[in-house]
């Protein structure tokens, strides 16, 4: 291991430690405030940024949705808020333990863990919602508290990483060693990115195509890191994409199905979602959507299926989104609405199983340079 690399690792683990300390201090200060209120005989309360639609605004400079300035007071005196107040307190308490002991948890795990503390969430969506509350109050993503979504996205390619999670500290790994790819979970998201020979990151919407790309050695042929987003990219994946772009200076291109949902998967990676308007640092503004475009359907004479009512409605909804008011985003939406038909990535199989990697991908990679 080179001296330079060693230094980089040291700096990285120092940074991770500092981050952990910050989180713990912040949680403690929140807890201390509640403690004092109770001890003084007052009902504790705190303020939380409003996440209602009216408070979600698009920030052109940041190129993402952010929360406005309005906020709400949540008080334990108010009996209609008392339950969610207690749930949030428990979550902060639980997140504090996770962070302190460097343990990881998933959304589903949080839901089940609550039962051990007589905190009754009606279903997982209620507990998921409280997790978003914690993010909003602290302005930190849940991953900072060691809470991760279920793993469903994966990565493959020549990338060396080094773990920072307890028990694996300093252990390194090359992400092209296992042909099934590596799940993007807590340990990978928090790992240090050491080096890579790749020159581009290809994010692809579907697991099936991901496997095909690995089999066809797209990583080697096009010097790329391949990431399967598994549909709408989870936040851990978006975080990793951002780090690959920012830390390793790699361009990111996105390949999705040729429909309005695919177009939006690309948009969320690029500029975030309204659901996560309370968080920043989750976007890759320079990422490029390269296909499958609506215009590709005509150009490549792809087999199609008709759009459903909800597909069409989704098109009209997105036309109101400020991010869809110009460029290819606007143009492709219009073409989808004109065609009223959509195509999957697999549509290229009509012209041979490797058609997509042999013909389509090279053209798109070439095109991406000019976008």
């Amino acid at each position: 291991m080179s001296k330079k690399t060693e230094n980089k690792i040291k700096a990285a683990s120092k940074k991770a430690l500092e981050k952990q300390k910050n989180i713990l201090e912040m949680l403690q200060s929140h807890g201390a405030k509640i403690y004092e209120d109770l001890d003084k005989g007052q009902f504790p309360k705190f303020s939380i940024p409003s996440r209602s639609v009216s408070n979600i605004v698009y920030d052109k400079k940041l190129r993402q949705y952010i929360l406005g300035t309005s906020s709400a007071v949540r008080s334990s005196r108010n009996t209609s808020q008392l339950r969610s107040f207690t749930q949030l307190m428990w979550l902060a308490f639980f997140a504090n333990r996770l962070t302190n002991e460097k343990k990881s948890s998933t959304l589903r795990d949080i839901y089940y863990s609550s039962q051990a503390f007589e905190i009754d969430f009606e279903d997982q969506s209620e507990s998921d919602n409280i997790i978003v509350d914690l993010e909003a109050v602290t302005s930190r993503p849940r991953e900072d508290f060691h809470i991760f979504p279920e793993e469903r996205s994966s990565i493959f390619g020549d990338l060396n990483i080094e773990y920072t999670i307890p028990g694996y500290e300093g252990k390194s790994m090359n992400l092209s060693n296992h042909p099934d790819g590596y799940a993007i979970g807590p340990s990978l998201t928090t790992a240090e990115l050491i080096d890579t020979s790749a020159e581009i990151v290809i994010a692809i919407e579907k697991g099936g195509l991901f496997t095909r790309f690995v089999e066809e050695q797209v990583d080697k042929k096009f010097k790329s890191i391949i990431i399967n987003t598994g549909g709408q990219a989870p936040r851990s994946t978006r975080t990793l994409l951002k780090r690959l772009h920012d830390e390793m200076n790699l361009p990111v291109i996105i390949l999705t199905d040729g429909d309005v949902y695919g177009e939006h998967i690309a948009m969320v990676i690029k500029s975030g979602s309204a659901n996560a308007a309370h968080l920043r640092e989750l976007t890759v503004p320079d990422a490029k959507w390269v296909g499958v475009w609506a215009t590709d359907i005509e150009k490549y004479k792809l087999p199609t299926i008709p759009m459903t009512e909800s597909d069409i409605k989704r098109c009209y909804d997105l036309q109101k989104d400020p991010r869809y008011l110009d460029g290819i985003w606007k143009k492709e939406l219009e073409v989808f609405l004109r065609l009223k038909r959509k195509a999957e990535l697999e549509a290229f199989s009509k012209y041979g199983l490797t058609n997509i990697t042999d013909k389509y991908l090279p053209q798109k990679l070439e095109l991406a340079k000019s976008l």
């Binding site: 403690q28 807890g31 509640i34 001890d39 009996t79 008392l82 107040f85």
Partner: protein, 615 residues
């Protein structure tokens, strides 16, 4: 009031009612059975009320042949513990139609006692069996009559009359009649149930034909105040009533028979002594003030006849011709008609004039009507265009019509006297409803008396909520003069008023377990239909009902608010007790403390609120 001697009058033959029995509620076996029950039960209750006796009513309906299917013959018996009816009046009271004692102006359940005879008549028509009446007025001797009605002659036919010794006073009537209990049963049971609600001072037992026994024990031991018989109010009269009153006010020339002469002697203190004519006149002058009108008239006649008692016994007065100042009489001794001149200057002449021509208008008004004093009477005479001293007996038909018309138009009469009404009273109503419904909340109100068209009325109401009331939605029990109104409630004024109220304003939302009892008392209830099941929406009655309900609804709303607050406070306290300790536990570890914060202060603070509202 018991001093008023009950007056028995024979009014009209039973033939008419035989032909028109539908009008009286005897149209079919089901309805007839129900009507008969009502008539007898109500008579029993009225009789007890009149004498201030706490009623014990025992109603029995038995099928003659239980195996037969309806309609079939039943035996209906109603027994009370009232004053009974004197033996000599029993045949007339139960054996003729339109023979009754309830003829004054006071509130009673039935009128004229007509219904009971109608039930007997119906029973006789459908079964050809006699009625059995047992009566004891002294609690020692019981008279038992078995009789039939002679419909054409409107006369009783007594089949049996026997006496036996008993230990209790009261009246029992038992008839055979064609009925349909499978149809009328629920209505009769409802009637008994609701009657016991509005008569909490009565004990009512009902043995039904299926062997079921319904017993409603006495809930309170106090009788409501008895109504008094009062004079009519001017607004409540018509030409015919006025004519009858005028006729009644003109005293007939008394028949001078042995009994009358005996009475005059007794009143003058001359029972044993025989005095000369002059001595008798002297004596009468001295005692004039204490003499009854009848006796005065006899003395006046004697003054012109110049006769002592012995001579008086031998003549008969034929006519008194006031304008011509002549007195005609028949002399038994000579068997001839004779006449004498009367001295118009004599004070006795005036006495006779009064008797024959009736009283002056002003004294007639102030004596015969309620709430009319001499001053008002004079004002009225002026208003109507009569001389105040006009003799009512001399009025022509046209003048009578004008008189009657003016009575309705004159606006200075005071409101009618409600002392003739018999509301149950707030306390008995409240106690009765409390024992009946066992509610969480109860309030009652008796409004002040008011009047419509000269008829006084009083509205009393009660609202009960929650507790053992299991019905959902507002259940209304309507009563008029202590009689339950069971059917045809849709068009009733009480329902109209209740439905017009926005109950959610009074915190009674959804289908509240709410019972409303409404009792309208009046000398004449304005029924909408001949069925007498629904009260018409007279503006004055509607207003009183509305005010009564609003008053009670406000109280209900206060109760509901309190209950809501207590419940909310309880719920709040429970939530705090559950969650605050958890918050304390989590923030303790989060803040890095060892000891939990003292959150008990908050929980303590919340508790007093709950207690305060409970009190």
């Amino acid at each position: 009031m018991s001093s008023i001697k009950e007056k028995f009058n024979q009014i009209s033959p039973s033939e008419f009612f035989y032909r028109n029995r539908d009008l009286a509620g005897f149209s079919n076996p089901s309805r007839s059975l129900y009507t008969a029950v009502r008539e007898f039960v109500e008579n029993g209750l009225d009789a007890c009320d009149a004498k201030g006796i706490l009623p014990d009513i025992h109603l029995t309906i038995k099928a003659v042949d239980p195996e037969k299917s309806d309609p079939k013959q039943y035996i209906l018996s109603v027994k009370d513990n009232g004053p009974g009816i004197e033996s000599k009046h029993v045949p007339l009271a139960f054996g003729t139609v339109l023979y009754g004692s309830k003829f004054g102006l006071k509130q009673a359940r039935g009128m004229f006692g007509l219904g009971a005879t109608m039930a007997i008549l119906y029973g006789q028509i459908t079964t050809n069996k006699p009625v059995t009446v047992k009566s004891s007025t002294d609690g020692k001797l019981l008279h038992e009559y078995e009789m039939l009605l002679d419909i054409q002659k409107n006369k009783p036919v007594i089949l049996k009359h026997k006496t036996k010794e008993v230990a209790r006073q009261g009246l029992s009537v038992s008839i055979f009649l064609e009925g349909d209990y499978s149809k009328a049963g629920s209505k009769i049971r409802d009637y008994v149930y609701q009657t016991s609600l509005i008569t909490p001072y009565a004990s009512i037992t009902f043995d039904d034909p299926k062997g079921e026994k319904f017993h409603y024990p006495r809930m309170i031991n106090m009788m409501p105040k008895s109504p008094t018989i009062i004079k009519p109010h001017p607004y409540g009269t018509d030409v015919e009533t006025i004519r009858r009153m005028v006729v009644e006010s003109q005293f007939e020339i008394p028949t001078i028979d042995d009994a009358m002469i005996e009475k005059v002697r007794k009143d003058l203190g001359l029972s044993k002594k025989s005095l000369s004519f002059t001595a008798i006149m002297e004596k009468a002058k001295k005692r004039w003030k204490n003499l009854s009108r009848q006796v005065r008239v006899v003395i006046a006649l004697m003054s012109f006849l110049k006769m002592d008692f012995e001579k008086l016994n031998k003549i008969r007065i034929e006519d008194i011709d006031v304008p011509n100042k002549k007195l005609f009489y028949w002399d038994f001794g000579d068997s001839t008609s004779k006449s004498i001149e009367m001295d118009s200057e004599s004070q006795y002449y005036k006495q006779l004039t009064n008797t024959v021509q009736g009283e002056t208008l002003t004294s007639f008004l102030s004596k015969k009507f309620q709430r009319v004093g001499p001053t008002t009477a004079v004002k009225f005479a002026e208003f109507a265009g009569f001389k105040p001293e006009k003799r009512v007996g001399t009025m022509t038909n046209q003048e009578l019509a004008k008189f009657s018309d003016s009575l309705q138009k004159f606006e200075d009469f005071m409101g009618p006297d409600p002392s003739c009404l018999a509301p149950l009273g707030e306390e008995p109503l409240e106690k009765g409803m409390k024992k009946f419904f066992k509610p969480d909340f109860l309030t009652v109100i008796q409004r002040n008396a008011s009047a419509y068209s000269g008829f006084p009325f009083v509205v009393e109401m009660g609202i009960a909520y929650g507790g053992e009331i299991s019905t959902r939605g507002i259940k209304v029990y309507r009563f008029a003069n202590r009689i339950p109104l069971l059917y045809d409630e849709g068009s009733d004024v009480v329902l109209k008023v209740i439905n017009d109220i926005d109950w959610s304003r009074y915190k009674a939302k959804g289908d509240p377990p709410l019972v409303i009892v409404s009792h309208i008392c009046s000398t004449r209830i304005p029924y909408k239909t001949a069925g007498k099941e629904n009260v018409a929406d007279r503006q004055e009655i509607e207003k009183e009902l509305k005010l009564a309900i609003q008053f009670m609804a406000r109280k209900l709303s206060v109760f509901m608010n309190k209950r809501g607050q207590v419940e909310a406070a309880k719920k709040r306290a429970n939530l705090y007790a559950k969650y605050i300790p958890l918050i304390a536990q989590f923030c303790t570890e989060l803040a890095g403390k060892k000891k939990e914060p003292n959150f008990q202060k908050i929980l303590q603070e919340e508790k007093p609120i709950e207690n305060e509202q409970k009190n």
